[in-house]
Symmetry: C2
Subunit: 196 residues, 2 copies
Protein backbone atom coordinates (compact mmCIF):
# COMPACT_ATOMS: atom_id res chain seq x y z
CA UNK A 1 0.00 0.00 0.00
CA UNK A 2 1.29 3.50 -0.83
CA UNK A 3 2.15 6.04 1.86
CA UNK A 4 -0.84 8.08 0.75
CA UNK A 5 -3.20 5.11 1.10
CA UNK A 6 -1.89 4.29 4.56
CA UNK A 7 -2.19 7.83 5.77
CA UNK A 8 -5.86 8.18 4.74
CA UNK A 9 -7.95 11.29 5.22
CA UNK A 10 -9.28 13.04 8.30
CA UNK A 11 -12.38 11.32 9.67
CA UNK A 12 -11.64 7.90 8.20
CA UNK A 13 -8.89 5.47 9.10
CA UNK A 14 -8.29 2.12 7.43
CA UNK A 15 -10.27 0.29 10.10
CA UNK A 16 -13.35 2.49 9.89
CA UNK A 17 -13.34 2.32 6.07
CA UNK A 18 -13.10 -1.48 6.27
CA UNK A 19 -15.93 -1.63 8.80
CA UNK A 20 -18.26 0.47 6.65
CA UNK A 21 -17.30 -1.50 3.52
CA UNK A 22 -17.99 -4.89 5.12
CA UNK A 23 -21.34 -3.69 6.42
CA UNK A 24 -22.24 -2.44 2.93
CA UNK A 25 -21.06 -5.68 1.23
CA UNK A 26 -23.18 -7.72 3.63
CA UNK A 27 -26.20 -5.49 3.12
CA UNK A 28 -26.26 -5.28 -0.67
CA UNK A 29 -23.85 -8.00 -1.81
CA UNK A 30 -20.14 -7.74 -2.60
CA UNK A 31 -20.56 -8.06 -6.37
CA UNK A 32 -23.39 -5.53 -6.44
CA UNK A 33 -21.38 -2.92 -4.50
CA UNK A 34 -19.17 -0.48 -6.40
CA UNK A 35 -16.37 1.68 -5.04
CA UNK A 36 -18.71 4.59 -5.90
CA UNK A 37 -21.35 3.15 -3.54
CA UNK A 38 -18.73 2.87 -0.81
CA UNK A 39 -17.52 6.44 -1.39
CA UNK A 40 -21.11 7.70 -1.11
CA UNK A 41 -21.61 5.70 2.12
CA UNK A 42 -18.45 7.30 3.56
CA UNK A 43 -19.33 10.80 2.36
CA UNK A 44 -16.28 10.86 0.08
CA UNK A 45 -15.92 11.54 -3.64
CA UNK A 46 -15.28 8.58 -5.89
CA UNK A 47 -11.67 9.66 -6.37
CA UNK A 48 -11.04 10.34 -2.66
CA UNK A 49 -11.95 6.75 -1.78
CA UNK A 50 -8.72 5.61 -3.45
CA UNK A 51 -6.75 7.63 -0.90
CA UNK A 52 -8.04 5.10 1.63
CA UNK A 53 -8.13 1.77 -0.16
CA UNK A 54 -6.35 0.47 -3.24
CA UNK A 55 -9.32 -1.62 -4.44
CA UNK A 56 -12.59 -3.30 -3.56
CA UNK A 57 -10.87 -6.69 -3.65
CA UNK A 58 -8.32 -5.46 -1.10
CA UNK A 59 -11.19 -4.73 1.30
CA UNK A 60 -12.66 -8.19 0.74
CA UNK A 61 -9.26 -9.77 1.34
CA UNK A 62 -8.76 -7.82 4.58
CA UNK A 63 -12.18 -8.85 5.89
CA UNK A 64 -11.98 -12.55 5.04
CA UNK A 65 -8.41 -12.70 6.39
CA UNK A 66 -9.65 -11.16 9.65
CA UNK A 67 -12.22 -13.95 10.00
CA UNK A 68 -9.90 -16.75 8.86
CA UNK A 69 -6.97 -15.57 11.00
CA UNK A 70 -9.23 -15.46 14.07
CA UNK A 71 -10.55 -18.99 13.41
CA UNK A 72 -7.03 -20.31 12.85
CA UNK A 73 -5.74 -18.62 16.01
CA UNK A 74 -8.64 -20.10 17.97
CA UNK A 75 -7.81 -23.63 16.78
CA UNK A 76 -4.09 -23.03 17.43
CA UNK A 77 -4.91 -21.94 20.97
CA UNK A 78 -6.95 -25.08 21.62
CA UNK A 79 -4.12 -27.21 20.23
CA UNK A 80 -1.59 -25.46 22.48
CA UNK A 81 -3.67 -25.79 25.66
CA UNK A 82 -2.17 -28.45 27.90
CA UNK A 83 -4.22 -30.79 30.04
CA UNK A 84 -7.12 -31.28 27.61
CA UNK A 85 -8.03 -34.72 26.28
CA UNK A 86 -9.16 -35.12 22.67
CA UNK A 87 -12.86 -34.80 23.56
CA UNK A 88 -12.27 -31.62 25.55
CA UNK A 89 -10.15 -30.19 22.70
CA UNK A 90 -12.99 -30.77 20.23
CA UNK A 91 -15.54 -29.19 22.53
CA UNK A 92 -13.21 -26.20 23.10
CA UNK A 93 -12.69 -25.86 19.34
CA UNK A 94 -16.46 -25.71 18.68
CA UNK A 95 -16.93 -23.23 21.52
CA UNK A 96 -14.02 -21.16 20.16
CA UNK A 97 -15.61 -21.02 16.70
CA UNK A 98 -18.79 -19.59 18.25
CA UNK A 99 -16.75 -16.94 20.07
CA UNK A 100 -14.90 -16.01 16.85
CA UNK A 101 -18.20 -15.74 14.99
CA UNK A 102 -19.67 -13.42 17.62
CA UNK A 103 -16.48 -11.33 17.94
CA UNK A 104 -16.03 -10.97 14.15
CA UNK A 105 -19.66 -11.25 13.01
CA UNK A 106 -19.52 -8.92 9.96
CA UNK A 107 -16.24 -10.40 8.66
CA UNK A 108 -17.43 -14.00 9.21
CA UNK A 109 -20.76 -13.20 7.51
CA UNK A 110 -18.91 -11.85 4.47
CA UNK A 111 -16.55 -14.85 4.44
CA UNK A 112 -19.46 -17.29 4.37
CA UNK A 113 -20.95 -15.61 1.30
CA UNK A 114 -17.75 -15.90 -0.74
CA UNK A 115 -18.36 -18.20 -3.73
CA UNK A 116 -14.90 -18.43 -5.36
CA UNK A 117 -15.41 -16.00 -8.25
CA UNK A 118 -11.90 -14.47 -7.98
CA UNK A 119 -8.43 -15.62 -6.84
CA UNK A 120 -9.01 -13.84 -3.50
CA UNK A 121 -12.29 -15.73 -3.04
CA UNK A 122 -10.71 -19.03 -4.10
CA UNK A 123 -7.90 -18.53 -1.57
CA UNK A 124 -10.50 -17.89 1.14
CA UNK A 125 -12.41 -21.06 0.21
CA UNK A 126 -9.16 -23.01 0.31
CA UNK A 127 -8.41 -21.72 3.82
CA UNK A 128 -11.98 -22.63 4.89
CA UNK A 129 -11.45 -26.17 3.60
CA UNK A 130 -8.19 -26.44 5.56
CA UNK A 131 -10.00 -25.35 8.73
CA UNK A 132 -12.77 -27.93 8.05
CA UNK A 133 -10.08 -30.59 7.79
CA UNK A 134 -8.38 -29.45 11.02
CA UNK A 135 -11.69 -29.79 12.87
CA UNK A 136 -12.27 -33.17 11.17
CA UNK A 137 -8.89 -34.30 12.49
CA UNK A 138 -9.95 -33.27 16.01
CA UNK A 139 -13.20 -35.25 15.53
CA UNK A 140 -11.16 -38.28 14.44
CA UNK A 141 -8.86 -38.02 17.47
CA UNK A 142 -11.80 -37.64 19.87
CA UNK A 143 -13.46 -40.73 18.35
CA UNK A 144 -10.22 -42.75 18.59
CA UNK A 145 -9.91 -41.62 22.18
CA UNK A 146 -13.42 -42.96 22.89
CA UNK A 147 -14.66 -39.49 23.92
CA UNK A 148 -17.21 -39.23 21.13
CA UNK A 149 -19.19 -41.70 19.02
CA UNK A 150 -17.29 -43.41 16.24
CA UNK A 151 -20.14 -44.04 13.80
CA UNK A 152 -20.14 -40.64 12.07
CA UNK A 153 -17.70 -39.77 9.30
CA UNK A 154 -15.28 -37.13 10.74
CA UNK A 155 -15.36 -34.69 7.79
CA UNK A 156 -19.17 -34.88 7.64
CA UNK A 157 -19.30 -34.24 11.40
CA UNK A 158 -16.90 -31.31 11.05
CA UNK A 159 -19.03 -29.78 8.30
CA UNK A 160 -22.27 -30.21 10.24
CA UNK A 161 -20.68 -28.68 13.36
CA UNK A 162 -19.37 -25.66 11.45
CA UNK A 163 -22.66 -25.54 9.53
CA UNK A 164 -24.61 -25.18 12.76
CA UNK A 165 -22.20 -22.54 14.09
CA UNK A 166 -22.00 -20.59 10.82
CA UNK A 167 -25.77 -20.53 10.37
CA UNK A 168 -25.91 -18.13 13.32
CA UNK A 169 -24.73 -15.34 11.00
CA UNK A 170 -28.25 -15.50 9.52
CA UNK A 171 -30.05 -14.37 12.65
CA UNK A 172 -27.56 -13.30 15.33
CA UNK A 173 -27.82 -9.64 16.23
CA UNK A 174 -25.02 -7.59 17.73
CA UNK A 175 -24.08 -8.02 21.39
CA UNK A 176 -25.55 -11.47 22.03
CA UNK A 177 -24.74 -13.35 25.24
CA UNK A 178 -21.81 -15.22 23.72
CA UNK A 179 -21.47 -17.74 26.57
CA UNK A 180 -25.18 -18.61 26.42
CA UNK A 181 -25.05 -19.09 22.65
CA UNK A 182 -21.86 -21.18 22.90
CA UNK A 183 -23.46 -23.30 25.65
CA UNK A 184 -26.53 -23.96 23.48
CA UNK A 185 -24.42 -25.01 20.48
CA UNK A 186 -22.12 -27.32 22.45
CA UNK A 187 -25.03 -28.82 24.41
CA UNK A 188 -26.93 -29.59 21.20
CA UNK A 189 -23.87 -30.93 19.38
CA UNK A 190 -22.32 -33.00 22.18
CA UNK A 191 -25.18 -33.96 24.46
CA UNK A 192 -27.97 -34.02 21.86
CA UNK A 193 -31.60 -33.06 22.16
CA UNK A 194 -32.92 -36.44 23.32
CA UNK A 195 -33.24 -36.96 27.07
CA UNK A 196 -30.50 -39.22 28.38
Amino acid sequence: MSERARRGRPGHDQQSVLRVAVELFNRQGYDATSMGDLARELGLTKSAIYHHVPSKEHLLESAVDEALDALTASLDEVGATTGLDAGERLRAAVRGSVVVLVDHLPAVTLLLRVRGNTPTEQAALQRRREIDHRLAEMVREAAEDGAIRGDLEPLLTSRLLFGMVNSMTEWLRSDPDVQAVADAVTTLAFDGLARR
Copy 2:
Protein backbone atom coordinates in the same frame (compact mmCIF):
# COMPACT_ATOMS: atom_id res chain seq x y z
CA MET B 1 -48.76 -15.44 -17.80
CA SER B 2 -49.70 -14.89 -21.47
CA GLU B 3 -50.62 -17.76 -23.77
CA ARG B 4 -47.39 -17.15 -25.63
CA ALA B 5 -45.27 -17.39 -22.46
CA ARG B 6 -46.99 -20.60 -21.40
CA ARG B 7 -46.53 -22.22 -24.76
CA GLY B 8 -42.79 -21.54 -24.85
CA ARG B 9 -40.53 -22.45 -27.75
CA PRO B 10 -39.34 -25.77 -29.10
CA GLY B 11 -36.46 -27.20 -27.06
CA HIS B 12 -37.29 -25.34 -23.84
CA ASP B 13 -40.26 -25.80 -21.59
CA GLN B 14 -40.99 -23.77 -18.46
CA GLN B 15 -39.36 -26.37 -16.22
CA SER B 16 -36.13 -26.60 -18.18
CA VAL B 17 -35.83 -22.80 -18.34
CA LEU B 18 -36.38 -22.62 -14.60
CA ARG B 19 -33.78 -25.33 -13.97
CA VAL B 20 -31.14 -23.56 -16.06
CA ALA B 21 -31.99 -20.19 -14.48
CA VAL B 22 -31.68 -21.47 -10.90
CA GLU B 23 -28.36 -23.14 -11.71
CA LEU B 24 -27.11 -19.86 -13.19
CA PHE B 25 -28.37 -17.78 -10.24
CA ASN B 26 -26.61 -20.12 -7.82
CA ARG B 27 -23.40 -20.04 -9.84
CA GLN B 28 -23.02 -16.30 -10.40
CA GLY B 29 -25.52 -14.73 -8.00
CA TYR B 30 -29.14 -13.70 -8.63
CA ASP B 31 -28.45 -9.95 -8.63
CA ALA B 32 -25.43 -10.34 -10.91
CA THR B 33 -27.39 -12.38 -13.48
CA SER B 34 -29.26 -10.57 -16.25
CA MET B 35 -31.99 -11.92 -18.51
CA GLY B 36 -29.38 -11.52 -21.27
CA ASP B 37 -27.05 -13.92 -19.41
CA LEU B 38 -29.88 -16.41 -19.10
CA ALA B 39 -30.78 -16.11 -22.80
CA ARG B 40 -27.13 -16.78 -23.71
CA GLU B 41 -27.04 -19.81 -21.40
CA LEU B 42 -30.18 -21.18 -23.11
CA GLY B 43 -28.96 -20.37 -26.62
CA LEU B 44 -31.78 -17.89 -27.15
CA THR B 45 -31.80 -14.25 -28.21
CA LYS B 46 -32.49 -11.67 -25.53
CA SER B 47 -35.96 -11.05 -26.94
CA ALA B 48 -36.82 -14.75 -27.32
CA ILE B 49 -36.26 -15.34 -23.59
CA TYR B 50 -39.42 -13.34 -22.88
CA HIS B 51 -41.43 -15.92 -24.82
CA HIS B 52 -40.54 -18.30 -21.99
CA VAL B 53 -40.56 -16.21 -18.83
CA PRO B 54 -42.20 -12.90 -17.97
CA SER B 55 -39.31 -11.70 -15.75
CA LYS B 56 -36.25 -12.65 -13.73
CA GLU B 57 -38.21 -12.07 -10.53
CA HIS B 58 -40.84 -14.56 -11.72
CA LEU B 59 -38.12 -17.22 -11.98
CA LEU B 60 -36.87 -16.43 -8.48
CA GLU B 61 -40.42 -16.60 -7.14
CA SER B 62 -41.04 -19.99 -8.81
CA ALA B 63 -37.81 -21.43 -7.38
CA VAL B 64 -38.22 -20.21 -3.80
CA ASP B 65 -41.88 -21.27 -3.83
CA GLU B 66 -40.82 -24.75 -4.95
CA ALA B 67 -38.47 -25.00 -1.94
CA LEU B 68 -40.89 -23.44 0.55
CA ASP B 69 -43.89 -25.47 -0.66
CA ALA B 70 -41.88 -28.68 -0.30
CA LEU B 71 -40.77 -27.77 3.24
CA THR B 72 -44.32 -26.82 4.22
CA ALA B 73 -45.72 -30.04 2.74
CA SER B 74 -43.11 -32.05 4.63
CA LEU B 75 -44.09 -30.45 7.96
CA ASP B 76 -47.80 -30.89 7.11
CA GLU B 77 -47.22 -34.57 6.43
CA VAL B 78 -45.45 -35.06 9.78
CA GLY B 79 -48.31 -33.26 11.53
CA ALA B 80 -50.88 -35.49 9.80
CA THR B 81 -49.10 -38.77 10.58
CA THR B 82 -50.95 -40.61 13.33
CA GLY B 83 -49.24 -42.66 15.99
CA LEU B 84 -46.19 -40.42 16.49
CA ASP B 85 -45.44 -38.84 19.84
CA ALA B 86 -44.05 -35.28 20.01
CA GLY B 87 -40.42 -36.46 20.07
CA GLU B 88 -40.93 -38.70 17.05
CA ARG B 89 -42.70 -35.88 15.21
CA LEU B 90 -39.73 -33.55 15.77
CA ARG B 91 -37.26 -36.18 14.61
CA ALA B 92 -39.41 -36.87 11.51
CA ALA B 93 -39.59 -33.13 10.79
CA VAL B 94 -35.80 -32.76 10.88
CA ARG B 95 -35.37 -35.86 8.73
CA GLY B 96 -38.00 -34.52 6.30
CA SER B 97 -36.15 -31.20 5.98
CA VAL B 98 -33.00 -33.11 4.95
CA VAL B 99 -34.98 -35.04 2.32
CA VAL B 100 -36.49 -31.80 0.96
CA LEU B 101 -33.05 -30.22 0.79
CA VAL B 102 -31.63 -33.16 -1.15
CA ASP B 103 -34.67 -33.45 -3.47
CA HIS B 104 -34.80 -29.70 -4.20
CA LEU B 105 -31.12 -28.80 -3.74
CA PRO B 106 -30.84 -25.99 -6.36
CA ALA B 107 -34.10 -24.33 -5.26
CA VAL B 108 -33.23 -24.59 -1.55
CA THR B 109 -29.72 -23.23 -2.23
CA LEU B 110 -31.23 -20.21 -3.99
CA LEU B 111 -33.79 -19.72 -1.21
CA LEU B 112 -31.06 -19.62 1.43
CA ARG B 113 -29.23 -16.82 -0.40
CA VAL B 114 -32.27 -14.55 -0.55
CA ARG B 115 -31.61 -11.39 1.49
CA GLY B 116 -34.92 -9.53 1.28
CA ASN B 117 -34.02 -6.92 -1.34
CA THR B 118 -37.42 -7.09 -3.13
CA PRO B 119 -41.05 -7.86 -2.16
CA THR B 120 -40.59 -11.40 -3.56
CA GLU B 121 -37.52 -11.89 -1.38
CA GLN B 122 -39.24 -10.40 1.67
CA ALA B 123 -42.18 -12.77 1.17
CA ALA B 124 -39.75 -15.71 1.01
CA LEU B 125 -38.02 -14.60 4.23
CA GLN B 126 -41.40 -14.27 5.91
CA ARG B 127 -42.32 -17.83 4.89
CA ARG B 128 -38.93 -19.05 6.18
CA ARG B 129 -39.62 -17.38 9.54
CA GLU B 130 -43.04 -19.07 9.72
CA ILE B 131 -41.39 -22.45 9.08
CA ASP B 132 -38.78 -21.73 11.80
CA HIS B 133 -41.63 -21.01 14.20
CA ARG B 134 -43.50 -24.20 13.23
CA LEU B 135 -40.38 -26.23 14.01
CA ALA B 136 -39.89 -24.27 17.24
CA GLU B 137 -43.45 -25.23 18.23
CA MET B 138 -42.59 -28.88 17.61
CA VAL B 139 -39.47 -28.45 19.79
CA ARG B 140 -41.62 -26.93 22.55
CA GLU B 141 -44.13 -29.80 22.39
CA ALA B 142 -41.38 -32.43 22.46
CA ALA B 143 -39.83 -30.74 25.51
CA GLU B 144 -43.22 -30.54 27.29
CA ASP B 145 -43.74 -34.20 26.47
CA GLY B 146 -40.41 -35.04 28.13
CA ALA B 147 -38.98 -36.48 24.90
CA ILE B 148 -36.22 -33.91 24.58
CA ARG B 149 -34.26 -31.74 26.98
CA GLY B 150 -36.06 -28.66 28.27
CA ASP B 151 -33.09 -26.38 28.91
CA LEU B 152 -32.70 -24.99 25.38
CA GLU B 153 -34.84 -22.16 24.06
CA PRO B 154 -37.16 -23.68 21.38
CA LEU B 155 -36.67 -20.98 18.70
CA LEU B 156 -32.88 -21.10 19.17
CA THR B 157 -33.00 -24.89 18.90
CA SER B 158 -35.15 -24.66 15.76
CA ARG B 159 -32.71 -22.23 14.17
CA LEU B 160 -29.67 -24.37 15.03
CA LEU B 161 -31.38 -27.50 13.66
CA PHE B 162 -32.32 -25.81 10.39
CA GLY B 163 -28.89 -24.15 10.34
CA MET B 164 -27.17 -27.52 10.45
CA VAL B 165 -29.49 -28.94 7.76
CA ASN B 166 -29.30 -25.88 5.51
CA SER B 167 -25.50 -25.71 5.71
CA MET B 168 -25.42 -28.87 3.61
CA THR B 169 -26.22 -26.77 0.53
CA GLU B 170 -22.62 -25.53 0.84
CA TRP B 171 -20.99 -28.89 0.13
CA LEU B 172 -23.60 -31.46 -0.87
CA ARG B 173 -23.15 -32.72 -4.41
CA SER B 174 -25.92 -34.25 -6.53
CA ASP B 175 -27.17 -37.77 -5.83
CA PRO B 176 -25.99 -38.16 -2.23
CA ASP B 177 -27.20 -41.09 -0.13
CA VAL B 178 -30.12 -39.18 1.37
CA GLN B 179 -30.86 -41.73 4.09
CA ALA B 180 -27.22 -41.77 5.24
CA VAL B 181 -27.09 -37.97 5.37
CA ALA B 182 -30.43 -37.78 7.20
CA ASP B 183 -29.20 -40.42 9.68
CA ALA B 184 -26.04 -38.42 10.38
CA VAL B 185 -27.97 -35.19 10.98
CA THR B 186 -30.58 -36.74 13.27
CA THR B 187 -27.95 -38.76 15.17
CA LEU B 188 -25.87 -35.64 15.79
CA ALA B 189 -28.87 -33.48 16.70
CA PHE B 190 -30.78 -35.94 18.89
CA ASP B 191 -28.19 -38.32 20.29
CA GLY B 192 -25.21 -35.92 20.34
CA LEU B 193 -21.56 -36.60 19.70
CA ALA B 194 -20.57 -37.50 23.25
CA ARG B 195 -20.59 -41.19 24.13
CA ARG B 196 -23.60 -42.09 26.27
